[in-house]
C-alpha cells in the first residue's frame, strides 16, 4: 500500500515539473510510518525537480515511531529539520488524551534526532490538557529547554465534535480562564529563554524559525501533494479531495475546491496571514507595492481604526498584532475583512 501511495505522490508531483522550491515539508499524518519509503520518495523528487537550492526540508514524526534507523534515513535523504509531536512530558496528561507514547519515548526521540544530525528540531506542546497545571506545563517546557530544542509550537487543546474525547469530556479539563493562564505562562517562560514568539502558535530561537510555514503566512505559493492536500499556485488556492482510494487510482484528478479571490479579498487574506507573524508584522510599503494603494485603501482605513483602539500597533513601517491581543485576535482580524 505505501509503495503505491508513493507512486501516486510522484505521479501527482510530475504535474508541476519545472516549479522551483525553497522548502519541503513531509507531514500531515505520521510521516515516520513511511520508513524506508522516505529515501525512495526523496530520490524520485530529486530526479524530477532541482532540489539543490532547498533551504529547509522538514519531516514530521511522532515519538513512538521514531527509531535511530528512521532518523538516519531521513538525514541521508536530505531532511534537515524534524518536527516531533511531543504534546507533553507528563505521562498522566498524555494518557488522558489517548496518546500512545510516553514522556521517556519523547525525550529519547529528541536526543536521537540531535545525535542523528538534525540541527533544527521542533516540538509540539498542547496547552489545556486535562489535569494540566502551570507546574506541569513548566516542567514540560523545562525539559524542552534542557534538551536544547530550538523551536516550539503550542496549541490549545480543542475538543473536536465527533471525537472520542467529545463524547466523554474529562472533568479536570482546564477552564478557558486556566487555558489563558497556561498560555500566558508559556509565553513568558519562552521569552525568558530566548524562544521568540514569531507567530501566534510558534516560538523559536532566532534563526530557527520554520521557513516553510513562514511562506504560508506571507501568503506565498506552495504545492501540496496527497489526498486533502492544499495548494496555492498562480494566485489560485485549490485542494485535493479527501479520499485516499480515489487518490490512489487517479492522483492528478482530485482537485476539489478551487478559488481565486479578487484583489481586495486577496489583500485582506494576506494581511490577516501576515499579522500572525508577531515579530515581522505586515509591512505597509510591501502591501502597497503588491496590491496598489488605491485598491486596498479601505482596508487600510479599517486597519488604522484598529490601531487607534490599540487592537493593532503601527510603528510607521509595519502593522503588528500585539502579544496581549493574540488570544482575542479573531474579532480583530474579522474587522479587517470587507463586507
Amino acid at each position: 500500500m505505501i509503495p503505491n501511495y508513493i507512486d501516486s505522490l510522484l505521479k501527482e508531483a510530475r504535474k508541476y515539473l519545472g516549479v522551483k522550491f525553497d522548502t519541503i515539508y513531509l507531514g500531515g499524518g505520521t510521516a515516520s510510518l513511511l520508513n524506508n519509503n522516505v529515501p525512495r520518495l526523496m530520490n524520485c523528487l530529486k530526479i524530477n525537480f532541482d532540489l539543490a537550492s532547498i533551504l529547509e526540508a522538514t519531516i514530521e514524526a511522532n515519538p513512538d515511531s521514531i527509531t535511530v534507523n528512521f532518523l538516519n534515513m531521513a538525514i541521508s535523504s536530505g531532511f534537515n529539520r524534524i518536527s516531533i509531536g511531543v504534546q507533553s512530558f507528563n505521562d498522566y496528561e498524555l494518557e488522558n488524551v489517548g496518546r500512545i507514547h510516553s514522556s521517556t519515548q519523547a525525550i529519547n526521540a529528541i536526543k536521537h534526532a540531535k545525535k542523528a544530525g538534525f540541527k533544527k528540531i521542533s516540538a509540539d506542546l498542547i496547552l489545556g490538557l486535562p489535569g494540566q497545571t502551570i507546574e506541569s506545563l513548566k516542567r514540560s517546557i523545562e525539559v524542552l529547554i534542557c534538551l536544547d530544542v530550538n523551536h516550539i509550537s503550542t496549541y490549545c487543546l480543542s475538543i473536536e465534535e465527533g471525537t472520542l474525547l467529545s463524547k466523554n469530556i474529562p472533568t479536570n479539563l482546564p477552564t478557558e480562564e486556566d487555558q489563558v493562564k497556561l498560555y500566558e505562562y508559556a509565553q513568558e517562560m519562552m521569552y525568558n529563554n530566548n524562544l521568540i514568539q514569531y507567530e501566534i502558535s510558534n516560538f523559536a530561537k532566532p534563526g530557527y524559525e520554520c521557513l516553510h510555514n513562514i511562506n504560508y503566512w506571507h501568503g506565498g505559493e506552495y504545492i501540496g501533494l496527497g489526498p486533502a492536500a492544499a495548494s496555492h499556485l498562480n494566485g489560485k488556492r485549490f485542494k485535493n479531495k479527501d479520499d485516499l482510494f480515489a487518490y490512489l487510482t487517479d492522483p492528478t484528478g482530485q482537485i476539489d475546491e478551487d478559488e481565486q479571490l479578487d484583489l481586495k479579498r486577496k489583500a485582506a487574506e494576506e494581511i490577516i496571514l501576515r499579522l500572525r507573524l508577531l515579530k515581522e508584522g505586515a509591512n505597509i510599503k510591501m502591501l502597497e507595492e503588491r496590491f496598489g494603494y488605491r485598491n486596498i485603501k479601505e482596508i487600510f482605513t479599517r486597519i488604522d481604526k484598529l490601531v487607534s483602539i490599540n487592537s493593532l500597533t503601527f510603528d510607521g513601517v509595519s502593522y503588528r498584532l500585539p502579544k496581549n491581543k493574540v488570544l482575542v485576535s479573531n474579532p480583530i482580524l474579522t474587522d479587517i475583512l470587507g463586507d
Partner: protein, 599 residues
Amino acid sequence: MSNIRNFCIVAHIDHGKSTLADRILEITDVVHTTGNEQILDGMDLERERGITIKASPVRIPYRSKEGKDYILNLIDTPGHVDFNYEVSRSLKACEGALLLVDATQGVEAQTIANAYLAIDGDLELIPVINKIDLPNARIDDCKLQIEDMIGIPADDALLVSAKDGSGVSELLEATIKRIPPPKGFDDEPLSCLIFDSQYDSYRGVIPHIRVFSGTIKPGDKILFKSNQKIFQVEEVGYFGLRLTRCEKLAAGDVGYLAAIIRDVQDVNVGDTIISPNFPDTIAISGFRRSQPMVFCGIYPVNTNDYEKLKFALEKFVLGDSSIVFEKENSAALGHGFRAGFLGMLHMDITLERLKREYEQEIIATMPTVIYKVLTTAGKEMIIDNPSKFPTINEIDSIEEPIVKARVITPNDSVGPVMELSMAKRGKMLAMEYPDERRTSISFEFPLAEIITDYYDRLKSVTRGYASMDYDLVGYKNADLVKVDILVNGDPVDALSFISERQSTVPKSKSLVHKLLKLIPRQQFKIPLQAAIGGKIIAREDITPYRKDVLAKCYGGDITRKRKLLEKQKEGKKRMKIVGSVEIPQEAFLSLLKVEEELD
C-alpha cells in the same frame, strides 16, 4: 335584486368554516376539486396554521330546486379571537350569517362572540351543526347550547357534514329561503360600503365594496365620503375565484372597483362611496371598528432599509386596515415604526408575513398595551411605548386596559385554568355550566397579562379543549412601574418594559439572566442591569471572553479559516450595536420567554 343573497359563515376556530365553504363551491360547480384543500385560505400561512386570517369573498351562481337562479355572495371569515374586526366588517356587507357549530365540540367562546356580532348587525342567523358524520357528534346538546348560550331558537338548525357534503344542498336551499334579499334601489343615489381592499401594482388600490343603493359602472365619478376625494371608475367586477370584470354593480351587489387610486391612504375600510352629484348622501354607519390593543416596535435590521420597510407596511395595511403604524425612533434601533395590532396572533402573523411575503428583515420589540398616565402636572398621557413613560416623580397615577374574558373549558381542567388565570392577575367574575362536561368562567384581566402567552398556555393546560374570547371593558388604576434595562451602563430603550410592581424583581432577574445567555461575550466585561428610576433591582455580568483565536493556520487551513472569519463577520452584521455592545435580534423579544418561565 331579489335573487341576491349576501351571507357569511361565522364560527369558532376549527369548527369547519373553510371546509364548508369549499363544499359549497364544489356543489355549485364553482370549483372542481378532489383534495381537502381550502380554497379560500389563499395564504401559505393560513394553510400552515390551519386558520383563516383574511376574509375572502366569492360569488356563487346557484339554481334552486324550484329552478330559479340566484347569486350567492359568500364571505369566508376568520375564527380566531384576534380577528373580530375582520368578521365585523364582513358582516356589514351581508344580510345573513350561517352560525356554524362543531357537533363534537359544541358552542365555544368564539361562537358566542361571533353570534353576538351578527345579532348586533341585524343579520338573519341560521344555526348550522357541522361534523354530524362523526360518531361523537352530539346534535341535541348543541341545539340546547345554542338556545341557552346564544339565545336563538335552534329547532330548525341545519345538520351538515362539510367533510362528506351531506346536508349542504339543503343548506343552500335554506340560505335562499331564510336569508332576506338585500334592500335598496338601483335608481337611488349611489351608496357603497368599503369593507376591504387590496393592492394591485397595475390597477392601484382596489376597494371591495357592497352596494347598498344606486349603481356603479366604468366611467362613473365617485366620491369618498371621509376624505372627499373624487375618482373615476375604470373597472367594476365581482369575486369569482379571481377578480372578474363586469358591466356594472347594482344595489345589493358585492364586488370591487378599480379607479387608479395610487395612494393607499385614500382608501379607508368602513368608508362610504357616493356619487359627487349627490354629495349629501349619508354615510353608512354602525360598522364596528375595533381598536388595536397590542403594540410593538418594528425596525429594519439594516438601518438603511427604513424606506423599504415603510413601503412594505403601507402595502400591508391595504389588505389589513386594522393595523395602525407610525414613525418611531429608538436610540438603540434607529428609525422604525410603532405598530398596533388586534392581538398577539395578529401581531405574530403580521410579522411573519412581513418577513416572508414582503421579504423584510425586521426586529420586533416586546409587545405592550396602551397605558393612560396621569402626570403630577395634571396631564393625561396615552402611552403605547414603555420608553415614552414619564419618570417616576412625574407620575400621579397609571391606568391599564382591562378586558372581560370568557373561557370555556372541560370540567377536569378548571383547576389549571384557574391557576393560570390567577397568575395572570385574573379576577373571576362568574362561573356557568353550559353542559355537563364543560364550565364557562368569566374573568377580568389586565390586557397586558393576557396578550403575550395566555391563550397558548390556556390551550396547553386544557390539552387544546378550552376556548376563549375577550372584550375590552375599560381602564383601571394599577400599580405599575417601568423597568429600564442597562447594557454596559447604557439604557436600551427597546428593552424597557412595564410591569406590575409586585412581579418586577423576579421578572427583571429572569430577563437579565436571559440576556446574559443571548448577548455574546465580548472583549470587556458587560454589566447587565435592570433599574427602576435610578435603583438597580437586578444585575448580572457578562464575563469577557478570553480566547478567540485561530491557533493553527498552515497551508491546508488558510481558505477554511478565512471563511470562518468571514462567517463571524456576517454574524456581527446581524447584531445591533448599542453603545459598544453587540446585541442579537432575539434579545429584543426575550421578555416573552421570561413570562412563560415565571408563572
